[in-house]
């Protein structure tokens, strides 16, 4: 009997111990600021270094400690944030991308940048506008990036070809760079790529009304009736018909870095890790994204992560201000390939010297500065699902589905997501 009682007591203690441990550890003197992030691999190391530097300097003086927690990919961070909403388990700050904007715009837990009172006058204008909704500036841009055309420069040079300017060019280039064992291009565009490939058409095109959902929730799908998605699909079918296109949706970077495909579209944020993985086997070239046609002059949409905050406190403000300070931005950019969001970062001598040495990093910056500032990310509900729907829809066309039918399918899917969301959240 006594043995059994003892076991019960031990069990009871063991259950409650972690309960208390979780609640009792907060020390009064230091304010802990938790940041959920999605920086992977080498980027994670740098991000943690940045947090550590803060803890050792400013944090030490002011009694603030950053705890950086990896939550998986950008979309996994949103999943965790949504799940934690209303449970008292939200982080102070979460690093998320445009796919989070719709949910965050409606979240009652979000603390906007305006409310925190952070000075954003040094932040890139396109960065600010990309996270501004009818409720104000939702999040503080932290890592800006632009979609780039990555290519195997060694191969291109040896064949005497230049990176393409349009998708028609790209078809010609692919015919030269593709072989039986090497795809000329790999990867299937999804929402992120399409905001540029559709957005740049006719100078400036939106996929959804209300400036892609930024000026109030989107109520109408535009990429169908304006014909922009159709134009893209027609050109992309030609890309597929070269026979040197590898329509894969995962592991694209691995294919590129191992030399099994000659080109891909990817965010500038991958630049450092791509160069790292190639480790000198060939020279990595980057260029602006090829445009759908000559009339597509809008340029590239700004993308990348922003810091959403859920706590209104001076400590959070201090941390956010640190994150966008020129030095941190320059360091982050050099290590990753992200474009600094602080315009002051461009003026630091260190960063100027860095760009001089690594001209590839300039392409993204120029690409953003040359773009129409009206271009904006798509804010659509069920973003994760819509992302995969675009890829499947494109695959359908490549497999022979009628383009008009595919377009109306895709319009119906996005309209369905919008209708379902507004029915449940108004």
């Amino acid at each position: 009997m006594r043995k059994l009682t003892l076991i019960f007591i031990i069990i009871a203690m063991a259950i409650t111990a972690p309960l208390f441990a979780a609640g009792g550890k907060e020390k009064a003197e230091t304010a802990k600021v938790t940041i959920w992030h999605s920086a992977q691999g080498a980027n994670a190391t740098v991000f943690e270094e940045i947090a550590q530097t803060f803890n050792d300097t400013i944090g030490k003086d002011k009694g603030i400690e950053i705890e950086a927690i990896y939550q998986g990919k950008a979309n996994d961070v949103l999943t965790s944030v949504n799940a934690a909403s209303g449970t008292g388990n939200l982080p102070d700050i979460a690093m998320m991308d445009a796919t989070a904007a719709t949910d965050m715009n409606h979240s009652q837990y979000l603390v906007t940048v305006d409310k925190l009172g952070i000075d954003t006058s040094d932040i890139l204008a396109c960065g600010i506008s990309s996270y501004t909704s009818e409720n104000g500036l939702l999040a503080l841009p932290f890592n800006a990036s632009a979609l780039l055309y990555y290519y195997n420069k060694t191969l291109y040079d040896s064949l005497g070809v230049n990176p393409p300017k349009t998708l028609d060019d790209m078809v010609e280039v692919m015919k030269k760079t593709g072989t039986k064992d090497r795809a000329a291009f790999a990867g299937v565009p999804a929402t992120f790529e399409l905001t540029t490939l559709i957005g740049a058409q006719n100078g400036l095109s939106y996929m959804l009304n209300n400036r892609n959902g930024h000026d109030g929730a989107a109520t109408e799908v535009l990429f169908g009736k304006e014909g922009t998605y159709k134009t893209f699909l027609e050109k992309w079918k030609a890309v597929y018909d070269t026979g040197f296109y590898s329509p894969i949706t995962s592991g694209v970077t691995a294919e590129f870095t191992s030399g099994r495909c000659a080109a891909m579209l990817a965010s500038s944020s991958n630049l450092a890790s791509v160069i790292n993985s190639v480790s000198g086997e060939f020279e990595v070239g980057v260029a602006k994204v090829p445009m759908v046609n000559e009339k597509a002059t809008g340029g590239t949409v700004i993308s990348g992560g922003a810091l959403f905050s859920f706590t209104d406190s001076p400590a959070v403000k201090t941390v956010l201000e640190y994150m966008i300070s020129p030095d941190v931005q320059a360091k982050w950019s050099e290590a990753t390939g992200y474009v600094p969001v602080s315009t002051k970062a461009y003026e630091t001598e260190a960063y100027k010297a860095f760009l001089e040495k690594n001209p590839q990093y300039k392409v993204a910056i120029e690409s953003l500065l040359d773009s129409n500032p009206g271009l904006a990310n798509v804010w659509v509900p069920s973003a994760y699902s819509v992302y995969y729907s675009f890829q499947s829809n494109i695959a359908d066309v490549l497999n022979g589905k009628d383009i008009d039918a595919a377009v109306s399918d895709m319009v119906a899917i996005v309209e369905g997501a919008i209708a379902s969301y507004s029915a449940q959240n108004n």
């Binding site: 069990i11 063991a14 992977q40 990896y70 982080p91 191992s258």
Partner: protein, 275 residues
């Protein structure tokens, strides 16, 4: 076996065929495990070259995996939660099974029926509602939250009830006459008698809780509280090209269970083989 001398050529052929199929199947089943061991010593180049083994083992993969800031707490949380869940579930199930088989009370069949009803509800279908409950109770990021949904199993309760009934009531009546309490009887008589069944319950719970992926993924969002199954997918080694370290982590997670399995195999078989 003595008859083997008399085998006709066709029988010998069938015998060899069977052994070949057996060997092939064994190799296939063992292959991922073997590759895991072998590739835990690979350099990134070995992975690129699709090697199956390397002659220049990279022990640093293990150092790297162990050096990961949270690897220790992942393991600790996993072992802690699965042992705890196994103990508690066994207690809960033993008590209930005892009451249903040995005691008489009003509404017994109704309660039993209601409990058996839980067999019809897959955990996956009530994932979100359970998440909400655990969150409301403030059990996110705690061991209590991780094990909350695996503390009762109607299937195991039925298994134990079957075993308890099979021993008859004489021992219980004798114990009652001796004035022994029910708890005393369970501890001293029933549990030793139903050893294999109780052990099966414990091991089953231990393994399922340890292997759980989706639930711990949902109820933990701090690395310190994560279990190893969630943790190993978030080490970030693969993303930075350190697949070797990833494999080393997998090896360290798997080996203890291979040992437990090898030790427990005989007992599980005894429990399952009825003569």
């Amino acid at each position: 076996m003595r008859k083997r001398v008399q085998r006709r050529p066709f029988d010998t052929f069938k015998y060899i065929l069977r052994k070949v199929i057996l060997l092939l199947l064994a190799v296939i089943v063992a292959f991922p495990l073997l590759y895991m061991f072998s590739s835990s010593f690979f350099s990134p180049k070995d992975f690129n070259n699709l090697r199956l083994f390397t002659v220049t083992p990279r022990w640093s993969n293990y150092a790297k995996a162990l050096g990961h800031g949270y690897f220790g707490s992942f393991i600790f949380n996993s072992i802690g939660t699965s042992v705890l869940a196994a103990l508690i579930r066994t207690c809960v199930v033993v008590l209930a099974a005892f009451a249903f088989t040995h005691l008489r009370f009003k509404g017994k069949n109704l309660i039993l029926g209601a409990l058996v009803l839980t067999l019809f509800v897959p955990q996956e279908a009530i994932l979100y509602q359970n998440y909400k409950t655990v969150a409301t109770l403030g059990m996110l990021n705690t061991w209590a939250g991780i094990i909350a949904t695996s503390l009762f199993s109607a299937a195991q309760m039925l298994l134990l009830m079957g075993s308890f009934v099979s021993h008859g009531m004489q021992a219980y009546d004798a114990a009652r006459i001796d004035g022994a309490s029910d708890i005393r009887y369970i501890w001293d008589v029933l549990l030793p008698l139903s050893g294999p069944a109780v052990l099966t319950v414990m091991i089953q719970t231990l393994i399922t809780t340890f292997n759980n992926y989706l639930w711990p993924l949902l109820v933990t969002n701090r690395p310190r509280s994560r279990t190893i199954q969630v943790g190993i997918t978030m080490l970030g080694f693969s993303e930075s090209g350190e697949t070797g370290a990833q494999m080393a982590a997998l090896v360290m997670v798997t080996v203890p269970f291979l040992v437990i399995m090898a030790l427990a195999k005989k007992r599980i078989e005894t429990a399952l083989i009825s003569k």
